[in-house]
């Protein structure tokens, strides 16, 4: 009973919003580009999820603690500067310690800079909320993004290569669905995923929209 009540505290609401009600991918539909690009293998999805979560946390930490001294007129430039600094950090780290993953992710690590989730969370949350809540928000959004990537990549890797993290899970007679490794397969799967999740989360399309 007590654990259930946690959801109604402010922290609980922020967390639930990030991973479920306001999930960056299936509710806000942000970060779709990287979602399609890196979910062909579980390994890539994990690295990408961890990278984005780290940059989110670091950006929220800095923006939230500097929020009283950041001049309002140049807050966007400040986000860009902070985000790119941390993204370059992640990129160098992967290049140095995980060269194989870095190569497979290709330009998409650098493109975290333009991932709307980061800019969005900085502007919508970190700039006007205290440090603790901002970190929680960053963490839950990172988690929401990562588990979506993980689910999609598990399905795609099984269908496209018959493996999970490079280990064979399907019988030898399994025919690889090459299309699942390609962007087209990503689009189809993402659409199905959005449909299922939005139904589960009872998200209605806005009235009067297209």
């Amino acid at each position: 009973m007590k654990i259930y009540r946690l959801i109604y505290t402010r922290a609980g609401r922020i967390f639930v919003n990030g991973v479920w009600k306001d999930n960056p991918i299936f509710c806000m539909i942000l970060g779709i580009c990287s979602t399609l690009a890196v979910t062909n293998r579980v390994e890539n999805a994990l690295a990408m999820g961890a990278g984005v979560t780290f940059v989110l946390l670091a950006t929220s930490l800095l923006i939230s603690s500097l929020r009283k001294i950041i001049p309002a007129r140049i807050r966007m430039i400040t986000y860009m500067l902070v985000i790119s600094t941390f993204v370059i950090c992640v990129d160098r780290f992967l290049k140095a310690y995980f060269p194989r993953i870095s190569e497979q992710l290709g330009p998409y690590v650098g493109l975290i800079i333009t991932n709307c989730i980061l800019m969005g969370r900085a502007e919508a949350f970190a700039i006007k909320n205290p440090l603790g809540y901002s970190l929680l928000d960053a963490f839950s959004c990172g988690l929401g993004y990562s588990y979506t990537l993980l689910i999609l990549s598990v399905i795609r890797e099984i269908l496209a290569f018959g493996t999970i993290l490079g280990r064979r899970v399907m019988p030898g007679t399994w025919t690889n669905w090459v299309i699942m490794a390609m962007p087209a397969g990503g689009f189809v799967l993402l659409a199905l995923y959005l449909w299922i999740m939005r139904n589960l989360a009872k998200l209605e399309p806005e009235k009067g929209g297209i």
Binding site: P71, V82, I88, R92, K95
Partner: protein, 191 residues
């Protein structure tokens, strides 16, 4: 006015802190990144020369089997059996293609080719990095020159099947290989 000074000061401070932080990260990771790149070249050379190696002993196998000769800025890798491998790099259709070309001891027949990096169209020109394509070059003669011909038409021993749908990449790759081989011959003559 005071507001403007504050903005300039803030941007200056933040910029310096971020810049300083990145220089630190760069200094910390540079050595490892350079080592990874070198390891990649070594792996490609070993693959091109068809020398087997356990993944964790690349450096060891490399230094045991291969002699590195440097001549006027160009590097030649030579094995005890006098096979040689040279690095090549040049323009493809979209970006740079670089890789390793290994020749048999007669210095005319191709032993193997490996691609280190390429930026061709994925699924079309990008297939030059695939094993099935690179295997077409094995045992081909590079004299008088290597020719990439339409897929399925290769008959003579200096002809290789190109990639259908990637004519420009195939042409660029042919040019690049021939030029690298010609440069290498020139180097041999001078010696």
């Amino acid at each position: 006015m005071k507001e403007k000074i504050k903005i300039v000061f803030f941007v200056f401070c933040l910029g310096s802190v971020c810049g300083g932080f990145l220089s630190g990260i760069n200094a910390y990771t540079r050595e490892r990144i350079l080592r990874n790149q070198e390891l990649k070249i070594k792996t490609a050379v070993l693959n091109a020369l068809e020398i087997d190696y356990p993944p964790e002993k690349i450096e060891e196998v490399f230094s045991k089997n291969i002699e590195k000769i440097e001549n006027k800025g160009r590097v030649i890798y030579r094995t005890a059996k006098r096979e040689v491998a040279i690095l090549f790099s040049g323009p493809g259709l979209w970006g740079n293609i670089s890789g390793v070309l290994a020749l048999k001891p007669d210095l005319e027949t191709i032993q193997g080719i490996q691609i280190i990096s390429q930026e061709e169209t994925p699924g079309l020109g990008g297939r030059i990095a695939e094993k099935s394509f690179l295997e077409r070059f094995v045992n081909k003669k590079t004299i008088p020159r290597l020719l990439l011909v339409p897929e399925g038409k290769a008959k003579r021993e200096n002809e290789v099947d190109a990639i259908t749908g990637a004519t420009m990449t195939s042409r660029a790759f042919e040019e690049l290989l021939n030029k690298s081989i010609a440069d290498f011959r020139l180097l041999l003559k001078k010696e």
